[in-house]
């Protein structure tokens, strides 16, 4: 039987505010447990929340970036449930009237297909603390440092029909929140978390199937795996004549399986109601204008500019703008004067290969954009060839100095003196008489052989263009 998959994502994006959404405690990651949980975060009796303006501004920034309706009036509600890392016994969230309404975003999958994904809403809420189960034998340990960290929950429409699309969407949102400076995007630290609602239905069926909500996914790779696992699981159930149960399932990356979360299984009745400690949030036109004016260039705008102004092709522009840090690096190179197309090739080629190999983000790259531009510029001005440049880059990576320093100290400067190159060529022609004859007899493929010999003799320093030209002259 043919099935089709329907996926919607709920992305929890921690906002990069200095202080928490409802208290003045720090949001810094990695502090001593509970040292950043103040009276409000602990839910002491009598404490009250006061809303952080920056959290609202950041949410609106996101809304504007996805062309969504920003609600001029939004309401904070209480979502009531008991859990030890939820200090007040309720989470302050937005239920009926979120700050951001409907919007959409365009994704491009690996096969280059573009698709619009609807965004249902994005709302502000507070994060919970952390429960640590493996620290004590008979106890769960509670750290409330994270409690009260602002979250923007971005809810998509069920518009994705494959794990790949879901990943493309998640990556797109991931890039966007970093672009607009509202989230650091660190998935390891939990700053960006995805829950996936997955269901399947018979191809062509109108009604959605019963969905399972997958939680605890902390990388794009796991997102893809978890969804595919879940789709398979649901197919097996349906094909055996069973029915899928609506439930929350935890993804276990170690065992590569999803399992039912029984503890959260009981019929949850969250009893949402407007939080009487908070008043309706009103966003006036002035604030909206101000946020709009301060909105940075968005990835789609940047991509268009890279194509239009820099003459990059669509694919390169897409890759370079898919992560803000990469785009920033690339643009920093251009600022120093490096050629755009050559820089694009080198960033997407050598640089990204070595970063991948060493599993380093571009932010942690030991070669600065300025230094890397210095290398690319030596290629442009024919100081070194592309081939030599690769070696210079390796030396730069090892910290041996700038491109110029390495070129100087190793004497890698390209030979551009044609009489010197001519001398080498003459010698090679003299030493390879049979090949010369074959060439002249019509085996023009041998030109490569002669080029190779010249490059070898000059230790790669001869300008390849010049070598080709001179060889053509001498051998004709």
């Amino acid at each position: 039987m043919a099935w089709e998959t329907v996926i919607g994502l709920e992305i929890h994006s921690q906002l990069k505010t200095k202080s928490k959404i409802f208290s003045g405690a720090s949001t810094a990651f990695g502090a001593t447990p509970n040292s950043q949980a103040c009276a409000v975060d602990l839910g002491l009796p009598g404490v009250l929340p006061v809303l952080n303006k920056e959290a609202v501004v950041m949410a609106i920034r996101f809304g504007l970036a996805v062309g969504a309706k920003v609600n001029k009036r939004s309401i904070f509600d209480r979502k009531n449930y008991f859990y030890p890392d939820l200090p007040k016994g309720y989470q302050i969230s937005q239920f009926e009237l979120p700050v951001v309404g409907e919007g959409e975003i365009e994704i491009t999958t690996e096969d280059g297909v573009t698709k619009k994904i609807g965004i249902t809403r994005a709302h502000l809420e507070e994060d919970a603390g952390k429960s640590i189960h493996d620290l004590y034998d008979d106890y769960t340990a509670i750290d409330l440092n994270r409690a009260g960290t602002p979250l923007l929950e971005i809810v998509s429409d069920p518009d994705m029909s494959s794990a790949k699309e879901a990943v493309a969407y998640a990556k797109k949102i991931h890039a966007l929140v970093q672009y607009i400076g509202i989230c650091d995007g660190n998935m390891q630290e939990g700053s960006f978390r995805c829950d996936a609602n997955v269901s399947i239905r018979k191809k062509g069926a109108e009604k959605l199937g019963t969905r399972a909500e997958l939680k605890n996914i902390n990388s794009f790779k796991f997102l893809e795996k978890a969804i595919n696992l879940e789709v398979e699981r649901q197919q097996d159930i349906l094909e055996e004549g069973g029915s899928v149960v609506q439930e929350t399932r935890l993804y276990d990356s170690v065992k590569n399986e999803t399992r039912s979360m029984r503890s959260k299984e009981e019929a949850n009745d969250y009893r949402y109601f407007p939080d009487p400690d908070l008043l309706p949030v009103e966003v006036d036109d002035e604030l909206l204008q101000q946020i709009r004016a301060n909105l940075p260039e968005l990835p789609t705008e940047k991509k268009q500019r890279f194509v239009g102004e820099l003459g990059l092709n669509d694919y390169d522009a897409e890759v370079l703008t898919s992560q803000k840090a990469v785009a920033d690096y690339f643009e920093a190179m251009l600022e120093v004067g490096a050629d755009s197309k050559l820089s694009a090739n080198w960033v997407m080629g050598e640089l990204s290969a070595i970063l991948n190999k060493n599993q380093i983000d571009i932010e942690g790259c030991p070669v600065s954009a300025q230094a890397f531009a210095g290398l690319v510029m030596r290629i442009s001005d024919d100081t070194i060839s592309g081939k030599i440049a690769k070696d210079v880059f390796k030396a730069m990576w090892r910290g041996e100095g700038s491109a110029d320093e390495i070129i100087d100290s190793k004497g890698l400067k390209q030979m551009t003196d044609s009489s010197a190159i001519e001398g080498v060529i003459d010698e090679i022609i003299a030493n390879n008489v049979p090949q010369v004859e074959q060439y002249k007899g019509g085996n023009t493929k041998l030109l490569g052989f002669f080029v190779g010999q010249v490059m070898k003799a000059t230790q790669g320093k001869a300008n390849p263009k010049q070598v080709n030209q001179l060889l053509n002259e001498k051998l004709s």
């Binding site: 009598g46 009250l48 006061v50 009487p276």
Partner: protein
Amino acid sequence: MLHKLTVTELSKGLKNKEFSSVELTKHFLDRINQSDLNAFITVTDDLALNQAKAADAKIANGSAGILTGIPYAHKDIFCTTGVKTSAGSKILDPFISPYDATVSHKLNSADTVMLGKANMDELAMGSSNEKSYYGPVKNPWDKNKVPGGSSGGSAAAVAGRLSPFATGTDTGGSIRQPASLCGITGIKPTYGRVSRYGMIAYASSLDQAGPLTQTAEDAALVMNVMAGFDDKDSTSVDRAVPDYTKNLENSIEGLKIGLPKEFFSEGLDSGVAETVMAAVKEFESMGASVQEVSLPNSAHAIPTYYIVAPCECSSNLSRLDGVRYGYRCEDPKDLEDLYLRSRSEGFGPEVKRRIMIGAYALSAGYYDAYYLKAQKVRHLISEDFKKAFQDVDVIMGPVSPTTAFDLGSFTDSVSMYLADIYTLSLNLAGLPGMSIPAGFSNNMPVGLQLIGNYWSEELLLNAAHQFQGQTDWHAQMPEGV
């Protein structure tokens, strides 16, 4: 006879060095320790004497304010650093607050002397003070009767002259009703006037703090300290605080008084009705005019309040879970057991009933019929007042349908709820209200309720002060005081 003096008189005496704050404080501590009213949950002798010494130093060096060195009883609902803050509940019996409520902070900054934490109905739920984990408070006028609630300890302390003034909170009448039943003055300000930060929440959209005193003049003095904007409370209003003592002497000639016909119908004790009407006559004799007004939805205040308040409290009290502070049951076998037993052993029956009513009224399938419906009716109730205040300056009526009833006389929740009929509606609307001594019925005090428009505390205090200039009900004391 220091304990019989008003705050105003004590302030003068301290300033003129007729007595010291330490003397005053010791005198009240002695009275508290000899009292059998059970008005206090905690008596803070050492802290009080230290504060009194500090106050005396300020008086000596001339830097004293009006309330410097004046002792008071603090309702146990306000967090006080280093002092048990139980809100009358077992679940907070072990809770030594690590921080100060804004009201506590303001009173400290005014150099007042905290004698102790006043008894109250558990978590402010009750109208008789019989629901305290620490036992019932007795009415100083008749120790077989209740003092009212939930600020029963506060009212009894002032009426019994165990404290010159007390703090209270009023969610559905918890300042006005005990003030009425104990024959003292109490004011519940406009919602948003006094910070709720550090005041253990019962129903957040209804709770408001205010003073209980002998006189309106004293209430004005304490309001000057308690009122004001607080950036820690989102529902606090950034609005200048007037000097509440400034207009106390204004004439009330021409004051337009409205009497809601719904407040004088069946259920009102005839003795209370007569006493209230006599007080209204007194206002007329002072040049006020009286007319009938209508609050047609006021009867709906009971079901509305008893949905809204339980909904909010069911959520507000979820934090009392035995995890981070407060009572935890012994040897919980798992998390579920910890929650269930800590909360079931920690809360009293009335609190549990309200939590369950609230949880039900918010639950899926019932939210619209209960919570949402109640909030709509609340709007109607508030509109009634808006209309009435187009014609009158102050609305007057009874506070409670009867005088103080016997301890133990109410066995079910509902009949107790019905007695809140005259006080609930203004909390729902957020309006200010006062109770002032208006006379006696069957030898028990009767309070007159004054309801004002938003932010009209000055006018209420002015009218009350003028009334107290013409009458001496507020100066009456229980026998043996």
